[in-house]
């Protein structure tokens, strides 16, 4: 049996789990192709123009799967991850949205995870995931979920050690673990603050990591942090957890803003993102208070690559200059002392 998973949104956060879980149950997963411009415009034509970019991309991936001949699509609705900690409306209603805008004949598996409701917990979510496929044995599901967690934990272990997400994803799926022991240190260290589905989608982020690497900039993301560190970050910005995906934004930003090893922050927002608008506002205001350089980037389906690159280059140039000045200044502080000593010697 084959089910299709769109390579968008929650894929970047939960795919290793789904892989372990479904493989254990003998279900084959089919991924959609990587995002292309054509795919995005196909998705955009389905939904109204005010919809945010990630959802347009998601709709495009669903179409891609249907074009491939897959007629069972897995589209979960992650309502809340803890009591009263809700997700964005568009992610909560994602399966409903897809069901209403895609006018084709297909089976949509739409499990709901809602930890604010006592009866919509994690096992109910897993049950709803496979019940439409005829698997209702709860013992079997529990066993499969263990396999899913094993795969997911390997993935988390790798990303936290500094392995980049695409490699970690590939290794986790193949059952391998690779850790980076020594990292080549870049000239300047930058934290990229965004949701996984924005930065790791090469079409949306326009291969940002590659560009940063070319500029000899070392990039850090929320995937390199532990949950505790991100919770500390949220406290650093004097706020409480409100959104289900706030850890990777406010949390990571709060942590990196106070981290002296990091020279600057780049935030990447998709156009029309609701939660981001207020989270970025908070991050911007606190970056001023903490005196940390910050670059806000917004992308949509019309963003030109040239302008994007220019802004990143200008920002990193500024960071390099700032770092050089601070090094020179710290040296200067030592140099005059020596000159004064010489002068004193000369007078004698």
């Amino acid at each position: 049996m084959k089910i299709g998973i769109p390579r968008a949104l929650s894929y970047y956060d939960y795919y290793p789990f789904w892989h372990g879980f479904f493989s254990e149950l003998g279900i084959e997963l089919v991924l959609s192709d990587k995002t292309t411009k054509k795919l995005v415009s196909a998705g955009s034509s389905l939904v109204v123009s005010e919809t945010c970019l990630p959802v347009k991309v998601y709709a495009g991936h669903v179409l891609n799967l249907l074009d491939k001949g897959i007629d069972v699509i897995y589209s979960p609705s992650i309502q809340s991850i803890a009591p009263k900690i809700y997700n964005c409306s568009k992610l909560r209603g994602l399966p409903d949205l897809i069901r209403n805008v895609v006018n084709k004949n297909f089976l949509l598996i739409e499990p709901t995870l809602d930890k604010s409701e006592p009866k919509q917990g994690f096992y109910q979510y897993l049950y709803e995931s496979v019940a439409p496929l005829g698997i209702t044995n709860k013992k079997l599901i529990k066993k499969a979920s263990k396999a899913g967690w094993e795969c997911m934990n390997n993935f988390t272990l790798m990303t936290r050690s500094g392995v980049d997400v695409p490699t970690a994803m590939r290794n986790a799926i193949n059952g391998k673990i690779s850790l980076v022991s020594t990292q080549k240190e870049g000239m300047v260290k930058v934290a990229v603050i965004s949701h996984g589905y924005n930065i790791y989608d090469e079409q949306v982020s326009m291969k940002m990591f590659k560009k940063l690497k070319q500029l000899d900039i070392e990039a850090y993301t929320a995937y390199n942090l532990t949950t505790e560190q991100m919770e500390q970050g949220i406290r650093n910005l004097d706020t409480l957890l409100y959104w289900a995906n706030e850890h990777e934004m406010t949390g990571a930003a709060g942590y990196y803003l106070k981290d002296n090893n990091i020279d600057g922050l780049i935030t990447l927002t998709a156009f029309g993102c609701g939660p981001d608008s207020l989270m970025i506002e908070r991050i911007t205001r606190y970056a001023k208070r903490f005196n940390k350089p910050l670059l806000n980037l917004t992308t949509d389906e019309h963003t030109g690559e040239a302008g994007f690159v220019t802004r990143i280059e200008a920002f990193t140039d500024m960071l390099i200059r700032k770092k050089r000045t601070s090094i020179v200044n710290s040296l200067k502080k030592q140099v005059p002392k020596k000159e004064e000593e010489k002068k004193l010697v000369g007078v004698e």
Partner: protein, 374 residues
């Protein structure tokens, strides 16, 4: 302590009375206008929703007028509204305003929170006065909704443009000034009497439009460019589906004090075949209302209002074309933001109303339910 609160339609009439009864001093900021919006959008993130900008503008104007404390509600589990207060507080601090923030955090039990925060705002600890104040506010909200319903009938049929509105505003002053139950009910009857004295053409060709959407823009005349009046001018009987009383019932009233089903619960069942889960905000109500209007033929068409980048309503806007096809009812979605041009807006409304009139002449589906309201 002088207390201010943001505008939301005519909420200021009810909330102002409640605070006055409790012995607090109210500073009502000027009703939303261009300056409010300018102040607000200058100091808020670009992509934040429209009401946020207006609320921030309200606060800034209220503080200029001498407010020392501002009220805000945090409503659980819906949309960005829950983050308004923390974000607004940071912004006001950064702008250098020194103001007390009284935040109704409805995450923690409603009844207790209402008591504690009203006590903090007004210094009045007497629970009986508090109950009287809340009751009075609820009564006024109900009166305002009732009067609006009568107004919609006369506005669509009046002989001279603006006649009914003139009479309505005369009564509104009386409602605003009333402090007791009897006084308020008398003011209500007077207002209805004034409006009913408008000369009307009973046989005018009328179309009925349901107004649905995000509660703030539906109620706020500034952000929706007074859509009800504009539609009334075009000979449309507007049934506003989402009222101040529905909003108060759903988000402020404790569930023990509620009677009957809320508007949301009713809408939820009719929206079920399109939207299975709650996505926050008023999305489920919007879809449910459209589906109901189509099923019962209670309206010729629906106008759906939403602020720019509103998350729940975008989900609704995406789903509505499907509802429109399945239930066979015309829907016009209008997105509102600070760049809204009046001329283009009116043209779209006129075109929509023309379409409805033509459609009605070909096959009249809607039975005149308007008479039932009066």
């Amino acid at each position: 302590m002088k207390i201010a609160f943001p505008h939301m339609g005519k909420l200021y009439i009810a909330l102002g009375t409640a605070i006055e009864i409790l012995g607090g001093e109210v500073v009502v900021p000027p009703y939303n206008n261009k300056r409010t919006l300018e102040l607000g959008s200058l100091n808020s993130p670009e992509a934040v929703c429209f009401p946020y900008k207006l609320v921030l503008g309200n606060y800034m104007e209220a503080i200029e007028n001498g407010a020392e404390a501002v009220l805000m509600i945090d409503s659980p589990g819906i949309c960005r509204l829950g983050q308004y207060s923390t974000s607004l507080r940071t912004t006001l601090t950064d702008l250098g305003y020194d103001v007390k923030f009284i935040n109704f955090d409805l995450y923690k039990g409603k009844l207790k929170e209402l008591y504690i925060k009203f006590k903090e705002a007004t210094g009045n600890a007497n629970p009986i006065t508090l109950i009287r104040a809340i009751n009075m506010a609820l009564l006024k909200i109900k009166i305002l909704d009732d009067v609006d319903r009568v107004l919609a009938y006369y506005r669509a049929r009046e002989l001279k443009e603006g006649d009914a509105d003139k009479r309505y505003f005369r009564g509104l002053g009386e409602i605003e000034a009333a402090l007791g139950y009897k006084e308020a009910l008398k003011a209500k009857n007077n207002t209805i009497k004034y409006i009913k004295s408008t000369p009307i053409d009973k046989n005018k060709e009328i179309v009925t439009i349901d107004l649905v959407g995000e509660v703030y823009v539906v109620l706020d005349q500034f952000s929706n460019l007074d859509i009800e009046k504009e539609l009334g001018r075009l000979g449309v009987h507007v049934n506003r589906q989402i009222n101040l009383s529905d909003w108060v019932q759903a988000s402020i009233m404790p569930s023990v004090l509620r009677f009957g089903k809320t508007h949301e619960e009713k809408a939820r069942s009719s929206a079920r075949s399109f939207l299975k889960r709650d996505v926050g905000g008023d999305a489920i109500e919007s879809i449910g209302d459209v589906a109901l209007a189509g099923k019962h033929h209670s309206a010729d068409g629906v106008v759906h209002l939403l602020p720019f980048t509103c998350m729940p309503e975008i989900v609704a806007q995406n789903i509505l074309p499907n509802v429109r096809c399945k239930e066979d009812i015309p829907v016009l979605s209008l997105v509102l933001d600070e760049h809204m041009g009046r001329a283009g807006y009116i043209t779209r409304l006129e075109a929509f109303v023309d379409l409805l009139k033509r459609r009605k002449r070909v096959e009249p589906k809607v039975h005149s339910l308007s008479t039932a309201i009066i």
